[in-house]
Amino acid sequence: MTMDPSPHLESDVLQALAEGELSRERERLARAHLDECARCRSEMQGWALLFSELEELQDLRPSSDFSARVMSGVEVEASTPARSRWIDRLLERVPGVRPSPGDRHLSVQGIQDYLEGALDRGTRSRVESHLDDCLTCGTLRMEWEALFSELDELPQLAPATGFADQVMAKVPVAAIAKVANAPERSWVSRATELSRRLLPSSPKSWAVAGGVFMAPSVGLIAGVAAVVVHPLLSLRELALFIGWRASDLGSLVWAYSLDALTGAPGVYWLMDTLRTLFETPGLAAAGIMALWALTMTSAWVLYRYIVAPTLSTGHHAKLS
């Protein structure tokens, strides 16, 4: 909202002035400008007139029976066809036949529900009363009754002779009975079947599953390889290091387990044996070799069933 640098007041300033939203100082300045500027004064008069007219607009109200129409589930005049409204206007001129004031016609759905007996007793009674008095709805009811009657009288159609024999020729009665009467299976057999379903069903899916499970060992072997290739580290030293770590781990397990197993016969002998094994460099080396073999196997399986088939598919596609 600015009054400067334009020589005239902007429309938003004039609107704010008309609504009394300007600060006292800005209003004083604006009014001072209006006293001197005929153009702004004229525009201001236009805004003032518009505001006045807007304030004088009256509230619009729905018709008096609007609420009743909204609240009525069955009686909706709007659903009456134009022809019926025309009939109504005609009937209004006939004494004794005109529907009573305030009466509305039954909806299409209401008539259908009535004919199907889907209305509760109270609604049904009101509908019947209306139907007795209202010629329009009475006529509609007859039309609907005729349609219901036609639909209900539609015949069932028969297939060609021999249909049952044709079906029975394709129904293995004994096999169906065998399946239907198969004994309830135990939870063991269900669990077995479930596990069988969960297991990979093809060489490729086995390869994928194997690859997923072997992936950690691939990472591990890569880490080991990164360490081994270091010029200051030999494989033997690494094996010794792992052996020491394993020995430390063994000692730790030993310490924790000792309290729990105190007094158990043969425990000391077992722990001594395990410690000896962990401290043996050859055992650590054998472990690494096994890990390596496992990873190589998984790498080969991944290549054989995932990478290689993709390449060969592309090759065949080119050939074709």
Binding site: L154, V167, I176
Partner: protein, 196 residues
Amino acid sequence: MDHSTLEDREVAALACKGRESAFRELLARYERPVFSLVYRMVRDRTLAEDLAQEAFIKAFHALGSYKPEYKFSSWLFKIANNLTIDHLRKKKLDTISIDGSPHASGEEETSRTRFILPDTGETPDEYTENRELGGQIEDAIARLRPEYRTAILLRHVEGHSYDEVADIMELPLGTVKTYIHRGRSELKELLSEVAA
């Protein structure tokens, strides 16, 4: 053995035990109703017999999974209706548009969801006569969209309750009521057009 006095579920139980006569009893009870529904849906006798046959074979193979607390006729009609609807959907490429979805909220959606009637290149009269389904009411039913047609036929020709129709069509009860009301209104309109 005479199974005519037994209830459907008892006959189905006997069929499960391998009694061929029980299978035949179920066929005798439902071959006409099932065929009628399918025939009025696809309006081709040969095709209707194939579909009805497929429905029975499928139902009989699945008898072991049929639960006696469920109404047998509803279970059987559900299988037949699903097969028929699947067939109509597969055939929808060879179709012409007539109308839009009853739930369409705008012109665009109405246009997108136009109902489809098989385009056989016949006039409506030829279509009706050639398919042995004569009469104005049959012709009007043929012009309804499939979901309205199924609901109307199950309700009026087969005499199922609204709940059963909802169960067979696997639709909410309110939707089925709407389908039947609108279907009948369309029928009334179509018939009055013919009369005029």
